[in-house]
């Protein structure tokens, strides 16, 4: 939690003033038992004598204390809500900004759902803790300490009972927290577990039913939810100890006060009204400490949340940002030299000793199955990861020399997953080129073979796109993703298996349209279909991260057994 406090920036005034106002209210509250003691010891005897002034004075005093307390308290609540909401907003903004700086390596480590949870739920917990802190942090210790001080003023020796009781009751929540905190973490894990199980079942509904395993899945879920219940009951059982314990302790102290107070009254060192005042102070200590217990729970949850948030903050991008470079005219568009790469945590190299050169205007086809490393090559060219060995150059400069913006200006990419975003078709395309004019949008739609289906949608280029592009078919999403890749007029175009959902005739038309673009376009084309790459200037055949062949269609047919095998299988059918 400590690390997050800097996000109170701009709210320090409120964070300090809030507790001060609360403090004032607490002071007023502390005076009330004294006023009651005054009424009992002074006003009652006076009233018996027919003098009601002290009684009226006491009554008015108590009323004023209450009304002023209300005012101060409301002000404090106002500050608390301001500061906590501001704090939460600051943390969320900063966390989101930080997540945006993370590279693929770190994003692999945190899945998207856990990032969303941390960004929203965990920040809400810490925000709540800040609000509670402002509302109660001064009030709780002040009432406790204040009551003890008041007790000292009334009778120093009897006040020792307060000190003892206060210390014990104050320590107990912390002791309990040691046990509850890991417990709450387990409960949270249990909940995550149940969520994951449900998600899995929903995604696998067909397979589960096809194999008739519903009952087994239900048994698995029931077991997970039983574990969760047991853990919840256990941790609930520990935190439920606090209230009864505090209650018993306070009553024990009251008994002590009754007895020793009786002795002192008998000796004439104390009055009856003061005994009542002491008991009142003890009761208010008890109430306050119970509030403190709830506070302890809030803080224990918040500190677990803060740890999860800090884990993200402490994860820094492993990418050294490029310092900026200008492409060298006349150098190869893409050049790979002896590139090796292993994913973090992966034992085996995903790519080994990969070398190839693509000149501007050429098309490189990369053929290989899933797991062969073809997406990895692209990831390295896009600098989502840094190569472990060797070097990749774009237009004569190492990829790591370019800034992110420069790289984007060099490469347009249609990734394997054609992800669209909520908005309009146009807004989605503008991601590829914020400055695109109407003509650019039209051209991009035409080239990507999207013009026809887009024009059929209500609004054309301004048609709604739902989140994830749900209202478009897989093939349509792929084509829009290609449109988004070409609209930026980058000299290099990457199509990462970006046409897999297109039928052959549409794909052929797309290929021809790209050829006709009035600019020198270097294309990197990844596919599993031999027909998609066979017209490329150079074809790289990858198998298990190693180059199995590099050349033209004709030369590979002659020299590369794998290529020949694939070609025959895909064009002539399985001939077994």
């Amino acid at each position: 939690m400590k690390n997050l406090l800097r996000y109170l920036k701009g709210y320090w005034g409120k964070t300090v003033l809030g507790p001060l106002f609360k403090l004032t209210e607490a002071v007023f509250e502390l005076i009330v038992p004294l006023a009651v003691a005054y009424i009992i010891d002074t006003a009652i005897p006076e009233a018996r004598g027919g003098v009601y002034r002290p009684l009226i004075f006491g009554g008015v005093l108590i009323f004023i204390l209450g009304a002023a307390g209300l005012g101060f308290s409301l002000t404090a609540q106002f500050f608390a809500s301001r500061a906590s909401a501001g704090f939460g907003t600051n943390v969320r903004n900063a966390l989101y900004r930080h997540i945006n700086t993370l590279s693929a390596v770190e994003l692999d480590r945190f899945s998207a759902p856990t990032l969303v949870t941390r960004l929203l739920n965990d920040t809400a917990q810490t925000q709540n803790a800040v609000a509670m802190f402002i509302r109660l942090v001064t009030r709780v210790p002040f009432i406790v300490v204040g009551s003890v001080v008041m007790a000292f003023i009334i009778h120093p020796l009897l006040a020792l009972i307060f000190v003892g009781a206060g210390l014990i009751t104050g320590a107990v929540p912390f002791v309990l927290m040691r046990f509850t905190q890991p417990g709450y973490r387990e409960v949270q894990q249990g909940l995550d577990n149940i969520g994951a199980k449900t998600r899995e079942t929903l995604a696998g509904v067909r397979v589960i039913r096809a194999f008739g395993r519903e009952a087994d899945e239900q048994a698995g879920f029931a077991a997970a939810s039983k574990t969760l219940a047991q853990k919840s009951i256990r941790v609930g059982g520990i935190s439920a100890l606090l209230n009864p314990f505090a209650y018993a302790l306070v009553n024990l102290s009251i008994i002590a006060i009754l007895y020793f107070g009786g002795v002192e009254v008998s000796l004439g060192n104390l009055t009856q009204g003061q005994v009542i005042a002491l008991i009142n102070y003890l009761t208010s200590i008890m109430h306050t400490l119970l509030v403190f217990a709830n506070l302890a729970i809030v803080f224990s949850k918040a500190s677990a949340s803060a740890a999860r948030i800090n884990e993200v903050f402490e994860t820094r991008s492993s990418m050294e940002p490029g310092k900026g470079a200008a492409p060298l005219i006349g150098s190869p568009a893409v050049e790979c030299r002896d590139v090796c790469f292993a994913y973090p945590g992966g034992a085996k190299n995903t790519l080994e000793n990969l070398s190839f050169t693509v000149m501007p205007g050429q098309t490189l086809g990369i053929l290989g199955g899933t797991g062969s490393g073809k997406s990895t090559v692209l990831n390295l060219i896009l600098r989502r990861y840094d190569a472990g060995g060797g070097e990749i150059r774009l237009f004569g400069r190492p990829v790591s020399a370019y800034t992110e913006a420069e790289l984007r200006a060099l490469i347009g990419c249609a990734p394997q997953k054609a992800e669209l975003f909520a908005g309009t078709v146009r807004e989605n395309l503008l991601w590829g080129n914020a400055a695109a004019a109407e003509a650019d949008v039209e051209l991009a739609l035409k080239v990507s073979q999207s013009a026809e289906f887009v024009s059929k949608k209500a609004g054309g280029a301004d048609a709604r796109v739902e989140a994830k592009g749900k209202n478009f078919s897989g093939g349509q999403r792929q084509r829009l993703s290609i449109a988004r890749a070409v609209i930026g007029r980058a000299p290099i175009l990457i199509l990462d298996d970006a046409t897999s959902a297109l039928d052959f005739s549409t794909e052929a038309r797309l290929r021809r349209a790209l050829k006709k673009l009035p600019r020198e376009l270097t294309t990197l084309l990844v596919s599993q279909r031999v027909t998609s790459v066979k017209n490329a200037d150079i074809i790289l055949v990858l198998e298990d991260g190693r180059p199995a062949g590099l050349g033209t269609h004709a030369s590979l047919l002659k020299d590369c057994a794998l290529y020949r095998e694939i070609y025959e299988a895909q064009t002539k059918g399985v001939s077994a």
Partner: protein
């Protein structure tokens, strides 16, 4: 399709009643918990009475009755001890009731998923269904059950305190009762204002969640296009509005406590003054008639007044939680009330003889206004291989959905070996087919469990054999943990191709009498695909099979090729026949060489 039961109007009382019914199996424990609460309330009420009596034995110098002080102190100890113990026991048992209840409810909600039509699961957001099973049920535990107990204890405390007050001094009691509506009114008034604030807060939070999920779910694409800054701006804009709404919601809800505390302070003051007057009157006059008071009794009255007003604060808190819980409960009940598949336990199992499939005049549409499949008739002789091709959205996968009864036909019939598939159990129909889909699904668990998913009692040899047939055996054995390698949710730590091979191995192990392959090899390594195709071919030997594929190479050897467009069969025949027709198939086939 099943006729939809009309869901009952969301009546709060009905929701509450049905939710509470889930506590039924734990009713004894709940009764025990409430009984313990009763003990707690009574004991906690008695303690101040004895404190007051003890104080009355402490009059002044020389006039302290130590015997009386000791006896009453002892009684304070006993009642406080009893209160503490019963309170803990009540809390513990209530916790047990709560979690057992919601476990029952949660299991029911999860079990419901198996009884729902696939159509429901396809057409509803999975996130929303998850939220019902996870979050909404949690709200119920907080709001309904804990709230119910707080309400119970609160009402008991109020009633008990009132009784004590009346017994001590009816004037004081009357004053307290007069103030009660004021306390309630203040709380109600603020709570009502808070409600709308909470709603706008919930809306902003929803917007923020939606944006974060969308952007972070596709973060690599966001980064690819350098949209981090733009996304940040949108995030901050919503966050700013969320700041305002949560600020308001927090402030208004935080007003409740100080305000009711002030009202309670007024009650305390009134009791104090009236009590003092009664003490002074000492049995005489108007105040004396209301009930003579000693100083000790006054102090216990004041302690009781604190006791009396506290539950009001809690109850107003409970009311807000109740509302949230009821809303959550409603959502869970809505899920539980969804129309279920018609039960088929009484139906016979499908008896597969050869696997002849007969589709007659079949019609189907996902939405009534957009007919998809119409007049679909097809006769498949047992052991034949049927391939279905056609552009995306033509209804290929829908046919598979209908064959397996994931969806029900709107008209016409499907028969397997002369038995209408609606007349047999779904389980027997589905296990008659082996199914490999493009969307491979794997369970979180070991590789072994996943391959043996269709036959949990398979021997290690059988599993290894199936893995070998699916060309994944070597990969598995290379893993440090071999077949015990743990897979993440949906095989997150495997490539698409490896996942597909595992799902093929899963079918290889079962060796079902019929097969359905829906783009079953689309994610495979090319060389692997060639080999797996051979293995699949062996598996299909003599079995009725349905194959959906994009790549024409994979279907050329089928006995019947159906070319579908817009839900209709437009061409039908074997590869050679279709090519010679020079129709749509011919066009598709040649496009791959253009």
């Amino acid at each position: 399709m099943n006729r939809l039961k009309t869901a009952p109007q969301p009546r709060r009382a009905a929701t509450l009643g049905r939710m509470l019914r889930y506590t039924k199996p734990h009713v004894l424990l709940l009764a025990l918990s409430l009984l313990l609460s009763l003990v707690y309330v009574l004991a906690a009420l008695l303690a101040p009475v004895f404190i007051g009596r003890a104080v009355d034995h402490i009059l002044g110098p020389g006039s302290v009755d130590f015997g009386g002080v000791l006896v009453n102190s002892l009684l304070v100890g006993v009642s406080a001890g009893a209160a503490a113990l019963s309170r803990y026991a009540a809390a513990y048992t209530l916790n047990a009731v709560t979690y057992r209840t919601i476990t029952g409810l949660r299991n029911d909600a999860y079990d419901k998923l198996a009884a729902l039509p696939v159509a429901y699961i396809d057409s509803h957001s999975h996130g929303d269904i998850m939220a019902r099973i996870v979050t909404d049920i949690d709200l119920i535990s907080d709001g309904l059950i804990q709230g119910f107990s707080q309400l119970f204890t609160g009402i008991l405390t109020i009633a008990g305190t009132l009784a004590l007050l009346i017994a001590a001094n009816w004037l004081v009691a009357a004053a307290v009762v007069l103030f009660t509506p004021l306390s309630l009114f203040v709380a109600y008034f603020i709570a009502r204002g808070t409600h709308s604030m909470f709603q706008s807060q919930a809306k902003d939070r929803g917007d923020l969640t939606a944006l974060s999920e969308e952007m972070l779910g596709s973060q690599l694409t966001v980064k690819l296009f350098g949209q981090e800054a733009a996304a940040q701006r949108r995030f901050e804009a919503i966050n700013e509005s969320f700041k305002k709404s949560s600020q308001n919601a927090a402030f208004y809800s935080a007003m409740v406590n100080p305000s009711t505390r002030f009202v309670n302070g007024l009650i305390y003051l009134t009791v104090c003054i009236l009590g003092v007057l009664s003490v002074i009157a000492a049995g005489g006059g108007f105040f004396g008639l209301a009930g003579a008071l000693t100083v000790g009794e006054l102090s216990s009255l004041l302690l009781h007044v604190n006791h009396y007003t506290k539950p009001f604060n809690e109850i107003t808190g409970v009311v807000t939680e109740f509302q949230t819980a009821l809303a959550g409960g409603r959502r869970v009940l809505d899920l539980l009330d969804e129309a279920e598949l018609t039960p088929d336990r009484t139906l016979p199992a499908l008896a597969v003889a050869g696997g002849g499939v007969e589709l007659r005049d079949m019609a189907f549409s996902y939405t009534p206004d957009r007919p998809l499949i119409e007049d679909f008739t097809l006769s498949v002789v047992s052991g034949k291989r049927v391939a279905i091709v056609g552009p995306t959205g033509c209804g290929k996968t829908t046919v598979i959905n209908l064959l397996l009864r994931f969806y029900e036909t709107d008209a016409g019939s499907i028969e397997v070996d002369g038995q209408n598939i609606r007349g047999v159990t779904r389980l027997s129909l589905r296990t008659a087919y082996g199914m490999v889909l493009q969307d491979t699904w794997l369970k979180k668990g070991t590789i072994y469990e996943n391959i043996a998913y269709g036959k949990p009692d398979a021997t290690p040899e059988e599993v290894a054999e199936a893995a070998a047939a699916a060309r994944i055996r070597k990969f598995i054995e290379r893993q440090p943990a071999g077949y015990d390698t743990l897979l993440d949710e949906n095989g997150g730590n495997l490539s698409e191709g490896q996942k597909q091979l595992l799902s093929i191995a899963r079918v290889m192990l079962v060796r079902p009498p019929m097969l359905i392959l829906d783009e079953a090899t689309s994610n495979l390594d090319l060389r692997t695909e060639i080999r797996v195709q051979k293995a699949l071919k062996q598996l299909m030997e003599g079995k009725t099979s349905f194959i959906v594929a994009h790549r024409l190479s994979t279907i050329q050897n089928a006995d019947i090729i159906l070319v579908m467009k817009d839900g209709k069969i437009i061409e039908k025949g074997n590869h050679a026949e279709l090519l010679s027709q020079k129709g749509f198939y011919h066009e598709l086939y040649n496009a791959q060489f253009s």
